[in-house]
Symmetry: C2
């Protein structure tokens, strides 16, 4: 039935991920340039068509790997996008994810069969994007911002030890907002996400800063 009904013909699923990093206090997102029509030459988020033999999240991760070489990235689904004309080729619904990774710890494959010039773009200097990826990126950033205040999603940026002034810079970059040093420390510690390592390191200051790390197990807190 379905295959002969034009109303259902040629539907497909995109899996798209907005991958963020923070470099020197600047929030950046990973973009690749399309080599083929449609939107040839346009920048887009990493992603592509879902295979029939993979789950959504697996498909999103495969696309990330194929387009950038990035492996071992945790991603989180935040919304589906399905306007009728979001793809000019055929009816495609996009399931969108966010991910966070430390750009200094990955070596980007900049050139692939379908894309080129993979690179990190500061979120306030984004070129025009193909498909509906500008809308997806905008919502992805809002979702990321909502996540960093209550989860350990930044663990990917600080897999090992870090100082509080250091991670505060990252929070400020993503939320685009400054925090009081003393209150930020108190708040972050009260979230029970990180723990003291009893070691000290150095960041920008002259006085060595204490080193913390994300806890291995995070108990999610009840809101009600």
């Amino acid at each position: 039935m379905r295959k002969t009904n034009a109303l259902y013909k040629n539907q497909g699923i995109h899996v798209i991920t907005a991958i963020f990093t923070v470099e020197l206090g600047v929030t950046k997102v990973l973009l690749v340039k399309r080599k083929n029509e449609p939107y040839k030459g346009d920048w887009i988020l990493t992603g592509g068509a879902l295979y029939n033999n993979e789950d959504l999240e697996a498909g999103a991760k495969r696309e990330i790997f194929e387009k950038t070489g990035i492996k071992d990235i945790e991603i989180e689904q935040f919304k589906a996008f399905g306007d009728v004309n979001r793809s000019p080729v055929m009816r495609m619904v996009a399931v969108a994810y966010i991910g966070v990774i430390d750009s200094s710890r990955v070596k980007l494959i900049r050139e692939t069969i379908n894309t080129s010039n993979a690179d990190w773009f500061p979120i306030d200097k984004i070129p025009g994007l193909g498909f509906d990826h500008e809308e997806i990126l905008k919502e992805a950033l809002i979702y990321l911002q909502s996540k960093i205040v209550s989860t350990d999603i930044l663990k990917a940026l600080f897999p090992n030890e870090f100082t509080i002034p250091e991670i505060q810079k990252t929070y400020e970059a993503i939320l685009n907002k400054k925090f009081d040093r003393r209150n930020f420390r108190k708040k972050l510690l009260s979230l029970d996400l990180i723990e003291d390592t009893n070691k000290t390191g150095r960041f920008e200051g002259k006085k060595p800063a204490k080193l913390y790390k994300f806890k291995d197990v995070i108990e999610s807190k009840k809101v009600f």
Copy 2:
């Protein structure tokens, strides 16, 4: 390319909505019974396959109307479900929505071409559901719970005037939790969602209760 590659063949999109209501302090969800294979005879949430000429939300609303006769319902997308085997017919990704409606204000069409016995089921007495709808319903309820504490999503249940003890019962039914009368009133009023109508009505008590109504315009509050 895509049409000849088995990896992309025969994909489709479901739009599924968990429609909730509250009757006499009991939270219920709308289920319909399938007439055809697969899952013939099983209960499922309202929904079906997306057409190529409609946006996601429009498709979800069309399916609601076709399966139950319900019109004029506001719905909100909360997640996409896309496990490889979630449909035995072909690869289908479901985009899931929640909706809230006053069951006493709608007349259900219980019998349609593909479904029968449309009815409201208390959420603690749900029969086994077809496809992955049990998982969808579970996540839908969690999403609904997160929404009623900060938005006017219950406006659909109280489009006109209501008393605070009355709406408190509804909150308690959905969140499955009791609240102190005095604190509930203070909290709800502080949310700026409702306003006094300077009239009184009756609910359960002997003393007439003040009537409130949802504000027409809700200013969303900043969290940061």
